[in-house]
Symmetry: C2
Subunit: 811 residues, 2 copies
């Protein structure tokens, strides 16, 4: 049983994928409606395919280039194995495939939701949420399946699936070292997944806003046709954009976080085993319990998510937003509680009752019970739930911050913008305190392994989170189709209820995504430091401090590039739409068919091209920091420390700018939406079309790229930065095969420093008071741990005690 645990996550993933296929076929069997409905839906589907086609073309080039680079690295650097290329390609492929599933089901579900809404609201929710479930399970199932399969494969290839030392080329390798190679190679899978996320999230973010703005500028403003009018060639691109950004982008983002989190936790689990003496086979699970645990949590999380999705249903056809929201909440909270319960069980079952972990700065390993690891997972679950509430407060309709922005709209766009910016900035306060508390808390419970497991537990419900998240844009699309195909008002009313709830879940989903990205980056950061074996990251060294500054700057510049990219891409879209209006005969009369796919292609290509510069910024900066100083002969460990400073700078600044931009954008959006139902400003009811509403629309224009392009891109930036660091870590030194023998050697030396002061008291009696400091330095696997112990008392006492202690330490 115990040794079978390694296959458990695969079984769960396959179960999840089977459930996904069942759900998929159920959704596809639903009535897709008729006539105009079907036509519009087909256009969106076609557009989505066009986007995927263009994306895959560029992706293929990218994957080939990176594969060649990785292959070269693996030939030059003896510690990097060529299999990393295979892992990279499959990571990219799995992520792209998951995105494909999500895009297809989302563009098939939208029209079926419209059709279902013609019968009843419960049916509409069932169909739209069913589509979201397919998306969620596709992402989570493929992520766990891919990662686990490759782990098992590499575990077999490098270690014969056994935790034992091996002699290779006459040199003895400890199992910890061999596992390090396994996990370093596995990092390729994560890198592949995150690279796709770069395309999907950043490119998708540019796409969705470029299409949105482009469609509006020519359609609404120049041609005077309504929004979502099928005569506008960019309308389909606009609707495709919703799916590209909110479905595929979010999916790829969470796919990447999911994989990276589990990977980082496995890396740190390997060091837990090492800290315990390098062999814990006596505790079962093939001696790799701490490494398997994060995968097991992910596997169980899939089943829990399925249970959660099954709970999401409403009965009454007269339900309102509140009932729909609470249906989602029941599913969500149940899954979170179930994850907590299963974390308790899994930590208890898979980990030794007490472990020894080495904490940075302490020479003695600390006894950590398996329950403390469980507490760390609870920290992650609490953060995941709380960050959603924080996001909800700062961006929610009817909440104080949004109401304030509404009030400030009455004095014009300027004050509206100031209020929105200030709201986004203020929202960093509770969010960062929450993150800081989570870092501290989970670390205090179980070191950086605890931090990584906190992230793993939070990510366990990824499938459920994505289902909740993806159902929003599906409902949004369904509403658009209802409007365009001129359904009964009741249909639109029903989809509007779903859409409104979807807007809330979209905002909280962004909170979840940034929380996951932040914790993932921290876990990767910890894995990086442990991999390279550097003596921590000391910002009192000027080059490290300089890199902290540079790292802090990159998210800001990245955001600027992303915002400018939206502007440029939108302008190209405008020109294409103008051209079609001019050149296609009968287009305005509805007799000529607009070339939707050309529009989509232009938007796709522009967005993918515009993401290259920010993408290069993300990829090239860490590479330049790693390799440029190497050319000048700088010590690799010093470079590793600089790169660590850079990673910390990117993470801290990136998290701040993500929260700031996401929440400012969300708040502006809902401030604008507040006018739809009417708001009271200075005692008067104010509606759409008022001056205040126009000011709010301006705020929303600014907020759009904030919340849909640059803000969410920060997640990818910080994760990819830390992943690149992790992948090049073996080049920079530390725990590689070359220097492996030093791994378990420990030396302790004691140094005594004595401080004596002589004091004369009022009675003239002289007291010799003395102090001795015993410094114990331990060289542990390249890491230097220093412990200082102070002795105080009379000269005699201190001399005796300190000498005895120092002697004991030396032995």
């Amino acid at each position: 049983m115990e040794s079978l645990m390694i296959y458990m996550p695969i079984a769960m993933a396959i179960l999840g994928l089977i459930f996904m296929l069942v759900k998929q076929s159920w959704v596809m069997k639903q009535n897709p409606g008729d006539g105009k409905m079907k036509e519009i839906s087909d256009h969106i589907y076609e557009g989505a395919l066009a986007f995927l086609k263009a994306e895959y073309k560029l992706l293929a080039i990218f994957v080939v280039i990176v594969s060649v680079l990785l292959a070269i690295v693996s030939f030059v650097v003896p510690t990097t194995h060529i299999l990393i290329v295979v892992a990279f390609i499959f990571g990219a492929f799995f992520s792209a495939f998951a995105g494909n599933i999500g895009m297809k089901i989302a563009t098939k579900t939208n029209v079926r939701t419209t059709q279902a809404a013609r019968t009843s609201l419960p049916n509409a929710l069932k169909v739209s949420f069913g589509g979201g479930t397919v998306m969620g399970l596709g992402v989570a199932g493929l992520a766990v399946l891919g990662l686990t399969t490759f782990f098992i494969g590499f575990f077999y290839f490098f270690m014969d699936s056994t935790w034992a030392a091996q002699v290779i080329n006459g040199r003895n390798y400890s199992p910890t070292e061999l596992m390090t190679v396994v996990l370093e190679t596995l990092a390729g899978f994560s890198l592949g997944a995150e690279s796709i996320a770069l395309f999907a999230r950043v490119g998708g973010g540019i796409y969705t806003k470029a299409a949105d703005v482009g469609a509006d500028l020519v359609g609404k403003v120049e041609a005077g046709i309504p929004e979502d009018d099928p005569r506008n060639p960019a309308t389909i691109a606009d609707n495709v954009g919703d799916n590209v950004g909110d479905v595929a982008g979010m999916g790829a983002d969470l796919f990447g976080s999911y994989v990276a989190t589990v990977l980082a936790a496995m890396v740190l689990g390997n060091y837990v085993i090492k800290d315990m003496g390098g062999d814990i086979s006596e505790f079962g699970f093939g001696g790799i319990g701490p490494i398997l645990l994060p995968m097991a949590i992910a596997g169980v999380g899939i089943i829990i998510s399925i249970i959660g999705t099954l709970l999401v249903k409403i009965k009454s056809n007269d339900a309102k937003e509140d009932q729909v929201m609470s249906a989602l909440n029941i599913g969500n909270w149940t899954s979170i509680v179930l994850v907590a319960v299963s974390c308790f069980g899994l930590c208890h079952y898979m980990l030794p009752e007490t472990m020894q972990m080495r904490f940075f700065g302490l020479v003695e390993p600390v006894e950590i019970s398996s329950m403390r690891v469980f507490y760390a997972t609870l920290v992650g679950l609490v953060v995941g739930a709380t960050i959603s509430s924080v996001t909800e407060y700062y961006t929610g309709l009817g909440k104080k911050p949004v109401l304030k922005i509404v009030q400030q709209s009455s004095t014009g766009a300027g004050t509206n913008i100031i209020a929105g910016l200030a709201t986004g900035m203020m929202s960093t306060f509770p969010s960062v305190l929450l993150f800081a508390g989570a870092i501290w808390g989970s670390y205090a419970f179980a070191g950086f392994y605890g931090v990584a497991l906190a992230a793993s537990a939070m990510m366990a419900t990824t499938a459920m989170q994505l289902a909740i998240d993806a159902f929003g844009p599906i409902s949004d699309n369904a509403g658009g189709i209802a409007e365009m195909s001129e359904q009964e008002p009741i249909v639109r009313e029903r989809t509007d209820i779903l859409d409104t709830v979807g807007n809330t879940t979209a905002a909280t989903g962004k909170g979840f995504a940034i929380a996951s990205a932040a914790l993932t980056s921290l876990a990767l950061f910890a894995a990086y430091v442990t991999f390279t074996g550097i003596d921590g990251i000391n910002i009192f060294k000027a080059p490290v401090l300089a890199m902290l500054f540079v790292g802090g700057m990159v998210p800001v510049v990245f955001s600027a590039l992303a915002m400018n990219a939206v502007g440029k891409a939108a302008m190209e879209m405008v020109q294409e739409v103008r051209r079609q209006f001019k050149e296609i005969p009968g287009i305005m009369e509805g007799t000529g068919k607009p070339e939707y796919d050309k529009c989509v292609a232009i938007s796709t290509e522009a967005s993918l091209r515009e993401m290259i510069l920010p993408g290069l910024l993300t990829i090239c900066f860490p590479l330049a920091i790693a390799f440029l100083p190497m050319l000048f002969g700088m010590d690799p460990l010093a470079i590793a420390e600089m790169l660590g400073g850079y990673m910390a700078g990117v993470t801290v600044s990136g998290v701040l700018w993500a929260i700031f931009q996401n929440n400012a954008g969300g708040a502006w959006d809902n401030a604008k939406k507040s006018f739809e139902a009417g708001v009271i400003i200075n005692g008067e009811m104010t509606y759409k079309g008022s001056e205040a509403h126009k000011a709010a629309v301006t705020g929303d224009t600014v907020g759009d790229p904030f919340k849909d392009t640059s803000g969410p891109s920060m997640n990818i930036l910080i994760k990819l930065t830390c992943l690149i660091g992790l992948v090049i870590a073996p080049i920079l030194g530390g725990h590689s095969l070359e220097e492996g023998m030093a791994v378990s050697q420990t030396n302790a030396e004691a140094v005594v420093v004595r401080t004596i002061s002589t004091e004369t008291d009022a009675d003239g009696i002289i007291t010799n008071s003395a102090e001795a400091k015993v410094t114990t330095t331990t060289q542990n696997n390249g890491q230097t741990v220093i412990v200082e112990k102070l002795f105080k008392g009379t000269l005699e006492e201190v001399t005796e005690a300190s000498s005895a202690y120092a002697k004991a330490q030396k032995e």
Copy 2:
């Protein structure tokens, strides 16, 4: 001669102040005009006095509270001397006095500039720049005078003005320890100065924008009277605001930077002496050359600034902006070159030809020639000059970024805002790379002493920079007075030329201020780490990392609070103006006199009250981080490291947000101003009043609090944070009187780790290749320095070489 060098800076400061008095009396002797001109000017002067009165009241309370707190600390903590209270009070007083001089001369010079502009442009420049010169020399003279006097006083009090060990209460204190106490006490002066800067810069920033917005909203919008109309009770407040923000705020900011920079350089100079064995009396200057050097540079800088100001003149009455600008440039560049020359001389003269400096992470001290210190000062001068060019590029009229914002204004306020935000964000790229390069470069030349001296050299021309900076708002006021008193158009034309140049210098001045704040903070940060004697700041410790996050968040929240404060204070102003319009009979007809002082007082009180929350945020966060964990019994050195992480977070994030907000605001401002001369948008000339112009006005509304309130406040936030850290450093441990004896004790131990690998080549020959790592650990004054040396070769070679090396190290 050599021992007299300690008095040189005082002599220079007094010379500077005498020159200031001469210049002041010359300005005051100029014709103040007549009738309406004089009346308006008197109102502004009255308003400025009202502000000062209210400010001093609040300041007095603040100074008393902090003094009591400091006094309590000095009684409880044996290492803090009660004299720090005296230094604090005088620091606050000197800074306030300098602000007083600046405000008074600025509000007296404005009308005289208007009058001079009636005769000729050269005269107008002479008068307005004369006023600026008084301001600059007042700040620089008082800063150097105060700091140097207190240093000499404390040097006498604690050390009998001699570099020698002393026995106090039966215990022997090294001169380095005694000097540490001198400089810790002197830090009180810097803290006092920076506290005033908090009031002047943050309060002033809120004031100026609150008055601006308040005056506009009721005057222009509600009452329909033109801008700067004397019937508007808030007009005077508006004009006072220009002086409060741009003159007094900037003056206090640079006063604080100036003092803090010199202080930090002195602290680090003390450790240079220690690194050289603790006594360099043989090199003259009483053995404190490296400590005196930064003061000497500051002193010489005053004289150089006087020379620079004398060069600023134009001859032709038909001169345009370019000629005025180049007149300023000649003065500025001459003074920078002269500072470089004198730094060469002073470094050569005052420093030993070669020094030993300990670099963090290296066990052996490094030989640093005095010329390398000179190179470090050059780095500072280059940064000061370059950052101005960068700022000028991103915010300058006619430059690409501003032109782009102008173009984006054609599609509405939304795109204008996005373009402005993106510009501000992009501008962090060259700025941060420049700072990072400066940190790295000056550190590589001469360690953190080099970083501090780079900052000192940059700040040497403070008087000149302030003169250039203060002449802008003076000319702005002069133009307003010309307009209100209905002068000939030529008068306004002339003042407009000066005003336009003043706008450019205001933007570049902000660049200089943030560069100085950044370098000052880094120097303070280095002084802090050295003071506390912690083993660097390692962000791989989770609590330190958590504090880095929290520190990064504080500038963002501070900015939000500052922006909200502007909104609140403006609303109070609006209500007061409405009340006066209603209650004072004949006010609109010009027969009833508006109660300017009430308006000014309301605005003053509101601004000072609104700055309390961000002020508390600034002060309380570091205190909470230092003292809360202490209550829970956490190790002081661990707390010191956490606080260091917090300081780094605040500095990195604060610098980024300062650059972002200053430059975005500056760019929006000039984008709006571009419409005054007309701009070509889509092939059409577009002027004021167009839709595009309205969009640009909205951008400027957002930019106003960015560039005048929250942006510049960042300077104070980061400096004050680091200063608070420095002041509480003795409480957190390290180099205090208590543990002083350990200072010069060094122990070295070598640890040998051997790695052997056996390889069999193609011919079956077995080679034993071996590696040995010798780790030398040196305990130096609480700081642990570790050096690792690798040996590679055959087993025999390696064993021999490493043993010999280890033995040598042990001895």
